[in-house]
């Protein structure tokens, strides 16, 4: 999840809050506090004061910013939630934002507010932009579900409309450009249009935000207007809007922004949203909006999940000092998340917050007491028996990657065009060297041989490992098979050497077998055999074909053995 960059001074000021003097926080203290936000200090630049913090929790986008981290720590310090007045029923709204009919087909939801009284500083602006980017990119899935716009409030005349227009009908100068462009031109030419155009592409009418005078604020989720939508250092009156496809996510994102700006000293005034269709918030509502609801949780549920009889008092104070609104009522606690959070799916989410708020050290470890019998699967037991026998036969064990290339597994083995060349292939190949799963082990061992001409001879090596064999009858289209592969390579490597090994192995495993000639392109004709046991082919062995050795640039003869260990488990 996201790693963010912030300024130590800024963080310290926000932790202190508007009424306190900021104090220097030692880094080890900070690291302790970062446990409250599942954050890890990844870097610190003493010269610039930059801190890099990685935030783990993908359900807590409110924490992916300096303000959110500071807020969670500050709440712990003061022991209770911070109340934001603008989430209460507002007496006054800054204006209206009217959603046009048909918008539900394209990008249905919008939320907005104004923020006045915080003069944007350079580092504050950097933080605003970083939060905007992280939220839109990760939480908003590259602006698909959520995107955010920040504007200078002064030029905007309410009501603002969230409209659908034809791509050629509206022109404005987008950020990063000098001239007026139509929406169609923006989609075709502007870098952001090219990058994000796919989100709204395919619709014959596109969304725009315009004010009462018809001035374009932005073309969401692509780009803001250059005139209104470029916030600069020194601005102190802002308009913030969020558009998207999921109403709770859109509302939550605006709530986070409103809380962040309020923490920096801005006065937030809600905007009234008017929708032509009914939503879960109705047809008219103000944003920011506290859409959470209290949830009654049995105290017992929390206590038994934590294994600790905390009592109502401790649970209440733990949750309060983590930002919850809590009312204890008998054997239950009624809890409500702060409006900048929406990650309460289950009681267990509250349970974890209690534990984090109290610190994990509060909970003494207890050994699980119930008796269980340990053991290995039959397959693993058989694989281990085979491995021990191979070690006794003086083979060195190898471990190889299962992922590799068609070139290595098939082409170099002279298997192209045969049934033996069927492999599980990857659709989204990152590198041709890692494009499929091995269907047998011999190529992995020949790879080692090819790399090892300077190791003294003879070379005897084996691997017991998994391979994937395509099989239409299998649930997932392939069988995962545990195979034994072995290779002997030296100047006098000979069929009889590997034959003796097979003979001895199957003797010890009590599996009578016969060898039948097999015509296999990887082996010399007339020097390869199928191992048949109980009427089934369980493997093969032979002298590796000189052309295969040439493909691998191996300069000594080699013999190989390959068999399915799974088959040894079948009843005789």
């Amino acid at each position: 999840m996201p790693t963010i960059s912030l300024q130590r001074d800024d963080l310290e000021a926000l932790i202190a809050g508007p009424d306190e003097k900021p104090a220097r926080i030692p880094l080890d203290q900070l690291e302790q506090w970062l446990m409250l936000v599942k954050g890890e200090l990844k870097g610190h630049n003493a010269e610039t004061g930059e801190l890099r913090i990685e935030l783990q929790d993908s359900n807590r986008p409110d924490l992916w910013c300096c303000e959110g981290i500071a807020r969670q720590i500050r709440i712990k310090q003061r022991g209770s939630a911070i109340s934001y007045p603008f989430f209460k029923k507002a007496k006054r709204v800054a204006g209206k934002l009217v959603v046009a009919p048909g918008m539900e087909q394209v990008r249905p939801y919008v939320a907005a507010c104004t923020a006045v009284g915080y003069r944007v500083t350079a580092s504050g602006l950097t933080q605003l932009i970083q939060t905007q980017e992280k939220l839109a990119d990760i939480f908003g899935r590259k602006r698909r579900s959520v995107s955010i716009g920040l504007y200078r409030l002064a030029p905007i005349v309410f009501p603002v409309s969230y409209d659908l227009v034809k791509p050629d009908d509206v022109r404005f100068t987008p950020l990063g450009m000098e001239t007026m462009m139509t929406l169609r031109e923006i989609l075709m030419v502007h870098p952001k249009g090219v990058e994000y155009g796919g989100i709204v592409g395919g619709h014959d009418r596109l969304p725009v935000l315009r004010d009462a005078n018809g001035q374009v604020l932005s073309f969401p989720p692509i780009i803001n207007s250059r005139e209104i939508g470029e916030v600069q250092v020194g601005d102190h009156e802002l308009f913030v809007e969020v558009t998207g496809t999921d109403l709770p996510m859109v509302a939550l994102t605006l709530n986070i922004f409103a809380a962040n700006l309020a923490d920096r000293g801005a006065v937030i005034t809600p905007v009234e949203i008017q929708s032509s269709v009914k939503t879960s918030f109705g047809r008219r509502w103000n944003t920011p909006i506290d859409f959470g609801a209290p949830r009654a949780i049995p105290l017992k549920a929390i206590e038994s999940a934590l294994g600790e009889p905390l009592g109502g008092k401790e649970v209440t104070s733990a949750l309060k000092s983590y930002g919850y609104t809590v009312k204890a009522a008998g054997q239950k606690v009624a809890v409500q998340l702060p409006p900048y959070r929406n990650d309460l799916l289950h009681t267990v989410d509250v349970v974890e917050d209690v534990a984090i708020s109290q610190g994990y050290a509060r909970f003494a470890p207890v050994m699980p007491s119930q008796f269980t019998v340990g053991g290995l699967s039959r397959l693993e037991q058989m694989a281990d028996r085979v491995r021990h026998l191979m070690v006794g036969l003086e083979f060195q064990e190898i471990i190889s990657n299962i992922m590799g290339s068609h070139q290595d597994f098939c082409t170099r083995m002279r298997l192209d065009g045969t049934d033996w060349a069927k492999v599980v292939e990857v659709d989204n190949v990152m590198s041709l060297s890692y494009s499929c799963l091995r269907q047998w082990i011999t190529p992995s061992l020949l790879q080692v041989e090819a790399n090892s001409s300077r190791a003294f001879y003879p070379h005897r090596m084996f691997e017991v490992g998994e391979v994937a064999i395509p099989d239409a009858s299998a649930d997932v289209g392939s069988r995962t098979v545990t195979m034994l592969g072995a290779v002997i390579a030296h100047a006098g490597a000979h069929f009889s050497e590997i034959h003796s090994c097979v003979d001895l192995l199957l003797y010890y495993l009590d599996r009578p077998f016969t060898l039948e000639p097999v015509d296999h392109p990887s082996f010399l004709d007339g020097r390869a055999g199928k191992i048949v046991s109980n009427g089934r082919v369980i493997g093969l062995l032979g002298e590796v074909h000189p052309e295969v050795l040439e493909h691998w640039q191996i300069g000594v003869p080699a013999v190989a053995l390959e068999w399915e260990i799974d088959r040894l488990l079948e009843e005789v």
Binding site: M35, L36, K38, D57, S58, N59, A305, L306, G307, E308, L345, H346, T347, V351, E352, F363, A364, P365, V366, M367, P368, Q370, F371, T372, V373, G374, G375, L376, S377, E380, D384, M390, V391, L393, E394, Q396, E397, I399, N401, I402, M403, V424, E425, V426, D427, M430, S431, L437, S444, V448, A450, S452, R454, R460, E466, A468, D475, G477, R479, T480
Partner: protein, 514 residues
């Protein structure tokens, strides 16, 4: 005394036989009849045992021909050729310049001018007007000396001292020196040592000549055993401090040895092994773990998709329905759910298993025992660039614990046990963590004896949204251990790709300390 090599005995006896003049190595070679290499070996051993000592050390100067000298012998030296050219010119009355000689004799200018210089000094030639050379008819001592030296040394090297003084001078003037390799002779220093018996050597030698040299055998043979003849033989003692010849062992891969040990520890703690498939459906890899299809959490697990077939035919019921409902509305699990419709087609999409937890999910659905402990060491695939900290496929050690007594504190207790048993760590720290399928979630850090504080693993209690749809009604711990760093330290390697090395020499020599 017992451990005298036959060669040593020979040398000792030779020295004892001829008291008086301490013999040199050459003389010893003659009296013992040993090859020079055998002799010098024996002498070194005896010196090391202080049975003999160096009596004197003399430095001799040995003169020999260089390849240039060989050439001079064949074609005469430049000085001779210059002199004879001058004489020949005198007889025919022709005028001869230095350049003429160079051209005629095909000599290096430096050789010619050096020869002319010497001849002029010796009065054998004159340089007259116009730079012409004339023979005076007098002999040149250098030219003659050179001729006789070339002749003498051609048959072999000789001591410098054995030449007369004038010849020695010629030799020294025309010997290879630093900065001038084009000379016919070279003079080397040779150290000649002579040896005497030490008092203890004397004793040993006397004993040897008294008792005679017993017949020594180096190898006990079946014949010696059969006939009992070994009783009359002496077995030569070996110099056992020598380095042993290298052999290759049949052995387990050191990383596998490490994993075997982990396996053993887990089994001994009461864990049952589970196995899964390399190819999985998104359903078992993610959906069953309550990772919503739309959610950023899913991006953590960037996966490899299978090309053909792209989808599994079916997902087993009732799991598909129950998991779908829990994603949508939290049905049955006491949850709100994620509030979106799960795409069943996407659930069937085949991927390369990206997390071992998929194996745990399947085990839960297949009817895990309660109480029950399970583990798997599963090969997983990560859609990532291959570089030092990443490999395309890697082993994940993970598992589950089911039981009515499972809660947050028993989770911490289990992790403590892992820290002690698997990492031999005494100090443990628990940090809040995030995994999409557990709540609460913990990251365990331990103080490793070599690495200091390190993350050993992550764990948590499976969300009820994971367990309920799979038919499990007791709390379940899900845990995973990150052991690769520990393995790398134990094996002394720095690049994770070396765990899967394809270099036999490296694998043969890699060893673990665990």
């Amino acid at each position: 005394m017992d451990n005298l090599h036959p060669l040593e005995s020979k040398v000792l006896l030779a020295l004892a036989r001829k008291p008086g003049v301490p013999p040199t190595l050459d003389q010893l070679a003659e009296s013992t009849g040993l090859e020079p290499s055998q002799l010098s070996m024996a002498v070194e051993w005896l010196l090391a045992k202080s049975l003999i000592a160096v009596h004197s050390e003399t430095v001799a100067h040995i003169a020999s021909l260089t390849p240039v000298g060989e050439l001079f012998f064949e074609k005469y030296s430049p000085i001779e050729r210059v002199l004879s050219a001058a004489r020949e010119a005198g007889q025919t009355g022709r005028r001869l310049t230095i350049q003429d000689i160079q051209a005629k004799e095909a000599l290096e200018p430096s050789d010619v001018s050096k020869a002319v210089g010497t001849l002029k000094k010796e009065g054998a030639i004159l340089i007259v007007q116009g730079g012409c050379i004339e023979s005076t008819g007098r002999n040149s001592a250098t030219a003659e000396g050179m001729r006789s030296l070339l002749q003498d040394l051609r048959s072999g090297q000789r001591e410098l001292q054995s030449f007369s003084e004038p010849l020695r001078n010629v030799l020294q003037q025309h010997a290879v020196k630093r900065g001038n390799a084009r000379e016919p002779f070279r003079i080397d220093e040779r150290v000649t040592r002579s040896f005497v018996l030490t008092p203890s050597g004397q004793e040993v030698a006397e004993q040897l000549s008294r008792d005679g040299v017993a017949e020594e055998v180096s190898q006990l043979t079946p014949e010696l055993l059969k006939e009992g003849a070994w009783r009359t033989k002496r077995f030569r003692k070996y110099t056992i401090s020598l380095r042993a010849p290298r052999i290759a062992a049949g052995k387990r891969h050191p990383y596998r040895e490490f994993l075997d040990l982990v396996k053993l520890k887990l089994v001994s703690m009461g864990f049952q092994e589970m196995r899964g498939t390399l190819v999985e459906t998104e359903f078992w890899n993610m959906d069953a773990l309550f990772m919503p299809q739309f959610h950023p959490a899913r991006d953590i697990h960037d996966v490899y998709f299978v090309k053909n077939p792209t989808h599994a035919r079916t997902i087993a019921e009732p799991y598909l329905t129950q998991v779908t409902q829990v994603h949508e509305k939290g049905t049955g699990a006491g949850s709100t759910g994620w509030g979106y419709p799960l795409d069943a087609e996407r659930a069937k999409r085949l991927v390369l298993r990206s997390q071992g937890t998929a194996v745990s999910a399947r085990t839960l659905a297949a009817g895990a025992s309660v109480p029950g402990k399970y583990f798997s060491i599963a090969r997983c695939f990560r859609y990532d660039q291959v570089d030092a900290p990443h490999a395309t496929d890697f082993f994940q050690v993970e598992g589950i614990v089911l039981g009515a007594d499972i809660n947050f504190r028993t989770l911490l207790g289990l992790l403590n046990l892992f820290a002690r048993e698997v990492a031999q760590a005494k100090e443990v720290k628990f940090l809040p963590a995030y995994f999409p399928f557990t709540e609460p979630s913990v990251e365990m850090h331990v103080r490793h004896p070599k690495l200091g504080w390190m993350e050993l693993g992550g764990a948590g209690l499976f969300r009820p949204e994971v367990t309920t749809p799979l038919g499990v009604s007791v709390p379940v711990i899900a845990w995973g251990l990150g052991l690769d760093r520990m393995a790398m330290v134990a094996l002394g390697i720095h690049d994770i790709r070396d765990l899967f090395s394809a270099d036999l020499e490296f694998i043969r020599t890699m060893r673990g300390s665990f």
